[in-house]
């Protein structure tokens, strides 16, 4: 048990180290973005002196390593900095704290991801297990063909088809998913129904096929034949003898798809006008709002690392060789 704990702590430490490396990559690649915030706010006509003064005010005149460590130090204290936007040439400062901008959007994104995950993960597992159980049957082929179709269709297209069907022809759900802090839970769920459904269709195939493949892969093992020769039924073989040995690959692909739900859904957000973090980041890149871009990128990286870490840990604790060493 202690060995497992040690392994998990080691992975956690590695995850944190990765996050630091990623923060440096984020910072340096954003510094390399073409264009300059000062110039783009003040316009082409601004004099060199004005631009320099403006840059100084924002702290952009300091060398990159200094800015990086200042930023890192602040982030470690929980301060993501202040947004660049809201400032203008006339010197007015209506800028907001980055956390005030990011947090509500992050919450929205996590809400949508959560709703999707609650539908998609059990559905994918169920489909994966049943298709493995009845493999090569008409059911198996239908499910495979259907999920392949949804994964091969661009997500905006899936989104528009769903809008056409469920918002326009049979108006069951709203086509706009605009929510804000005052929207109640029931109303929220109602409004995110279509985006959640779209994302479900997009991610279910990957998870379902991996589950099916992981199970079928194990069905050739001698211990599965042994289970059959001990009189186990097909469902017992799948659930009791194959599934406990298949969690590691399944957890990995689930983690991958959940991460996608957080960091990769900007297209769906745009289609449904959903105020998520993806849109915020795209807007921030357009307006060269460096602190916001950095904060978003850091959150995305942390999401990936955290989810993959969880998958790793599931892989470790479901492996009896690691959990019960000799």
């Amino acid at each position: 048990m202690n060995a497992v704990l040690a392994t998990i702590l080691k992975r956690l430490g590695l995850g944190i180290a990765t996050l630091f490396v990623v923060s440096a990559i984020i910072f340096s690649s954003i510094s390399m973005l073409p264009g300059d915030f000062g110039q783009s706010v003040l316009g082409q006509s601004a004099t060199k002196e004005t631009v320099a003064a403006f840059r100084k005010e924002l702290g952009l005149d300091k060398p990159a390593p200094v800015r990086y460590f200042e930023w890192l130090g602040a982030v470690l204290k929980g301060d993501l900095g202040t947004s660049f936007s809201g400032r203008n040439a006339s010197g007015q400062d209506r800028s907001r704290k980055v956390s005030d901008l990011v947090m509500p959007r992050l919450w929205n994104t996590l809400f949508l991801a959560g709703v999707t995950a609650v539908i998609a993960v059990p559905l994918a597992l169920f489909l994966g297990l049943t298709t493995a159980l009845y493999r090569n049957s008409a059911y198996d082929r239908t499910v495979n063909a259907a999920t392949l179709t949804t994964i091969s269709t661009p997500e905006f297209f899936v989104a528009y088809i769903l809008i056409l069907l469920l918002a326009s022809l049979w108006p069951v759900f709203p086509s706009l998913a605009n929510v804000d802090a005052s929207t109640g839970l029931g109303e929220r769920l109602y409004r995110v129904a279509l985006p959640a459904l779209t994302l479900t269709l997009v991610i279910v195939a990957h998870m379902m096929r991996m589950t099916r493949a992981a199970i079928i892969n194990l069905l050739a093992s001698p211990y599965i034949e042994m289970a059959r020769l001990k009189g186990a039924s097909r469902s017992e073989i799948i659930l009791k003898h194959a599934l406990p040995n298949a969690w590691a690959p399944i957890a990995t692909v689930i983690a991958f798809n959940l991460a996608y739900l957080v960091v990769g859904v900007v297209v769906v957000e745009v289609v449904f006008v959903y105020p998520g973090i993806g849109q915020l980041m795209v807007d921030a890149v357009t307006s060269r709002d460096i602190p916001v871009v950095q904060a978003c990128a850091l959150i995305f990286a942390a999401t990936y690392i955290l989810l993959n870490l969880t998958a790793d840990i599931i892989g470790i604790v479901t492996n009896p060789r690691l959990l019960h060493p000799r």
């Binding site: 020769l229 001990k230 009189g231 003898h241 060789r321 019960h324």
Partner: protein, 546 residues
């Protein structure tokens, strides 16, 4: 329709009857016959030995006795009746009720046949509990009792362990307990001791035999080792190419085999090479200690290998035989000690050795399958060392490949074949040709015949002996099989737990007085005598009353 399972039939009643059973298997896009009309009759309490080479169909026939065929196989004819139930016509659900309760199966590789995710005890009682043969708690208590009878260590607690936490020999006994748990009428033992060391094999055989005797269970015992089956079976049936060769009571079969094929099955045991003494040492290993990370594997190993002779290294798995080979080849750097070749010390690590030093020592592996690149033709495989070591090109290289093929008794039509198009014996011959191509002085043979059938083994051993005579090659022959040792060696090194127990001429090692371990090892090799196991156990008991 069927007898009450709790009411055992009278001993001597026919339990299993197979008539003209034919089974086809699917490969290369078509169906091939695997079993071509075999009859088999088994009475209650009787043990039938099924013997044959790999590919004889013995495992397929054994599983068919349960009404089961592997994916890709199907029963195409004949009848299989188990206690009045027609297993060919029975539906899956009907057969499932028999499997694990009235007919049990013990597989070859215990390590692969236990589910790694569940505790041993849960797997042991699974079948009995599923069919409600008795309350689960009673099954668990009964399993502990079976563990005790099978002489497993800590019978009370061993069931709480996971498969990877116990040794192969112990797992095989747990599997026997698992088969016995529902008190079946019939157990199919499918090569249950093939993967075990001889010393472990004796213990497992004894445990299985006593428990089968005790519950008067009928059994089909499948193996390729005649000496093993002689200890277990009342009757022996020999199979070849899916057909019966002959069937006879065990003693008759051993004393008077009718068919030449049956006699050839133990021909390798008759092979014996006269030993030749030699003082000219070509390779010597001096006081070597070696370790894998923190695990020390070799302790003060000293071996000297005379030129043109065969030194056999024997010992059970984990005794450090293969590690010694890795140290000699430079794959593993020893912690202490050195290896000298022709009196000159060899650099410890492979990458510090010169091409010439590499060329002089070649290796042949146990699994010829995995020792060849499956995408390369036989020509590519043999030509590579010719080019690398000798710089041969074009016509000269091609001629030499043909010559080498001739040496290993294959013709040039093999040049364009891929490893997958060769039989096991042919693959091993190609590996021998590859080693020969470098013109080596020493060839290390790591269990090169262990994966092969008896007759093929004999061919390979004869080939190796002939090559030794022609080219004065030195062999370091790693094996756990004493019959092979007798067939090929001049000197023997006995290893145990990473130490050399003794080294000497074959005649010295194989005759008394023996150190304790050598005696245990030699006495554990099954002999062609149905009373061998009984006598051995009796002898050991009187010597060691514990």
């Amino acid at each position: 329709m069927t007898a009450d399972p709790n009411q055992p039939g009278a001993p001597g009643d026919i339990l299993l009857e197979m008539r003209d059973v034919r089974i086809d298997g699917f490969s290369d896009e078509r169906w091939h016959p695997i079993i071509k009309g075999v009859d088999l009759t088994l009475r209650r309490g009787e043990v039938l030995g099924l013997i044959g080479e790999s590919g004889a169909g013995k495992s397929t026939l054994g599983k068919a006795a349960m009404g089961y065929t592997q994916p890709g196989c199907k029963i195409v004819g004949g009848t299989i009746r188990f206690d009045g139930i027609d297993l060919v016509k029975a539906r899956d659900a009907e057969k499932r009720k028999l499997w694990g309760t009235r007919i049990a199966y013990v597989a070859q590789s215990a390590a692969a046949s236990f589910n790694p995710a569940h505790r041993l005890i849960d797997q042991t009682v699974e079948a009995a509990t599923r069919r409600g043969i008795r309350p689960d708690a009673d099954s668990r208590a009964d399993a502990v009792e079976l563990f005790r009878q099978l002489q497993l260590p800590n019978p009370e607690t061993i069931g709480n362990r996971y498969p990877h936490q116990v040794s192969g020999g112990q797992l095989q006994r747990v599997m026997t307990a698992m088969a016995m748990s529902p008190r079946p009428d019939l157990i199919i033992f499918d090569e249950p001791t093939t993967a075990l060391d001889v010393t472990t094999q004796v213990e497992v055989l004894a445990a299985m035999r006593s428990i089968v005797d005790e519950f008067n269970t009928a059994a089909i015992y499948i193996t390729h080792d005649l000496a093993v089956v002689a200890q277990m079976a009342d009757t022996i049936k020999v199979l070849r190419f899916g057909e019966e060769v002959e069937e006879a009571p065990t003693r008759d079969m051993l004393e008077r085999p009718k068919e030449t094929y049956t006699r050839s099955l133990w021909s390798v045991r008759a092979l014996e090479k006269p030993e030749v003494k030699s003082e000219d040492i070509v390779l010597s290993i001096d006081h070597v200690d070696a370790a894998y990370g923190p695990f020390k594997v070799l302790h003060d190993v000293t071996i000297s290998i005379p030129r043109g002779r065969t030194v056999a290294v024997v010992g059970e798995s984990g005794s450090g035989k293969s590690t010694t080979a890795r140290v000699i080849t430079g794959l593993l750097r020893p912690e202490v000690g050195s290896v000298s070749f022709n009196g000159e010390p060899l650099p410890a690590s492979l990458k510090d050795r010169s091409k010439d030093q590499l060329q002089r020592i070649q290796m042949i592996y146990q699994m010829a399958d995995t020792a060849m690149n499956p995408r390369q033709t036989v020509f590519d495989i043999i030509a590579r060392p010719l080019e690398f070591y000798l710089g041969l090109k074009g016509k000269a290289r091609e001629d030499r490949v043909v010559e080498l093929l001739k040496m290993i008794e294959l013709d040039e039509s093999f040049m364009d074949r891929l490893p997958s198009e060769l039989s096991g014996g042919q693959k091993q011959r190609i590996c021998i040709a590859r080693a020969l191509a470098a013109n080596p002085e020493v060839i290390i043979c790591d269990e090169v015949t262990s994966a092969l059938d008896q007759i093929v083994q004999e061919g390979i051993l004869k080939l190796l002996l002939r090559l030794q005579k022609e080219f004065n090659i030195t062999y370091l022959f790693i094996t756990h099989d004493i019959a092979t040792v007798k067939a090929i060696s001049d000197e023997i090194v006995v290893m145990h737990r990473g130490r050399v127990v003794e080294q000497g001429l074959k005649s010295e090692i194989l005759s008394p007085p023996f150190p304790d371990y050598t005696r245990l090892l030699l006495s554990s090799v099954p002999e062609m005598d149905p009373d061998w196991l009984t006598d051995l156990l009796a002898g050991r008991e009187s010597r060691d009353p514990a």
